[in-house]
């Protein structure tokens, strides 16, 4: 698709693009991966601490501590997003801050903050799931597909 577009460009534009590609600052891919790994890992570490806290102090097992843990993490993310701290973490950590459940909380609350000026009903209410909507849709959809594959393999594969 992009190649087709390039061929249709006038020659001087193509020249300019080649020139620009040479001069463009390369993305520090490895550095970004490392940052994402460390930030994501750190968020998971905090999650594990919260989970252990619930197991030791309340009547939760490893199995059931997951729900309050993610709720707590999302709650703290929402506060941090409101105070503008999570944006900086996101700037630094990239995918490491978006992939864990905290990224989901951030997506919901930042959309709500952004559209608050348009009013609470059509602004906040209409746009709060603007970013999180696709996550929910494709999360449910892919879970369905995986479950289907698993059912077929177990049902017909004789495992």
């Amino acid at each position: 698709m992009a190649d087709k577009k390039k061929k249709n460009l006038p020659p001087n534009a193509q020249e300019y693009q080649a020139f620009q590609q040479q001069r463009e600052v390369k993305r520090p891919l490895l550095k970004n991966c490392l940052k994402a790994f460390l930030v994501g890992g750190f968020i998971c570490l905090i999650g594990q601490l919260i989970s252990t806290f619930y197991i030791y102090n309340f009547n939760f097992t490893e199995q059931t501590a997951g729900n309050p843990t993610s709720a707590t993490l999302i709650f703290f993310t929402m506060l941090l997003t409101g105070f503008g701290v999570y944006d900086r973490i996101g700037q630094f950590g990239g995918a490491g801050s978006a992939v864990p459940v905290t990224g989901f909380g951030n997506a919901v609350i930042s959309a709500a903050i952004e559209h608050k000026t348009e009013g609470f009903i059509l602004g906040v209410g209409g746009n709060i799931f603007k970013l999180a909507g696709p996550v929910i849709v494709y999360g449910v959809f892919s879970a369905f597909i995986v479950a289907l594959i698993k059912t077929i393999i177990i049902g017909w594969g004789g495992f």
Binding site: L30, L38, T61, E62, A65
Partner: protein, 149 residues
């Protein structure tokens, strides 16, 4: 360039840090003395269960408590073995059921169940429990281990 090398070295160090072997494992397997002195609450099946579970290399710590009808055991496993937790649980449950055909066997690898059994064992050893209280506590623990959400 130098910074890049440093970052790579440090991150590799952290990545490989997780691959070390546990040297603290064997020491606390048999951490509870054999408890048959408490005549009121016969814990012989639990002691027997601990002996059986001691033969498994994957297990690092064991807690087990029983009453006249049920036996509940919980273990801590080596961290690497957590990948095969399901099959391990199945295998050991079957082993315990074969050993104690007259008792209802409940086996768990859950941290919470382990903690609760630890508390219960301590109570039994300090002889503060009646048969009924023990049964109630065990029921509570079994109920907790069955919870899904």
């Amino acid at each position: 360039m130098d910074r890049k090398k440093t970052i790579i070295t440090v991150s590799l160090f952290f990545l490989l840090l997780g691959c070390g072997t546990d040297s603290t494992i064997e020491k606390n397997k048999q951490d509870t003395p054999i408890n048959v002195s408490n005549k009121q609450l016969n814990q012989q099946p639990s002691t027997r269960a601990k002996d059986i579970l001691n033969n498994h290399k994957e297990i690092t710590e064991i807690k087990a408590v029983n009453n006249s009808k049920k036996i509940v055991a919980a273990v801590k496993v080596k961290h690497r073995e957590r990948f095969t937790l399901k099959s391990l649980k199945k295998k050991i449950t079957k082993e315990l059921e074969d050993e104690f055909p007259k008792l209802d066997v409940e086996f768990s690898t859950d941290q919470k169940i382990f903690l609760e059994l630890k508390k219960l064992e301590e109570k039994i050893q300090s002889e503060q429990l009646t048969e009924k209280e023990l049964s109630d506590e065990l029921e509570q623990i079994i109920k907790l281990s069955k919870e899904q959400t």
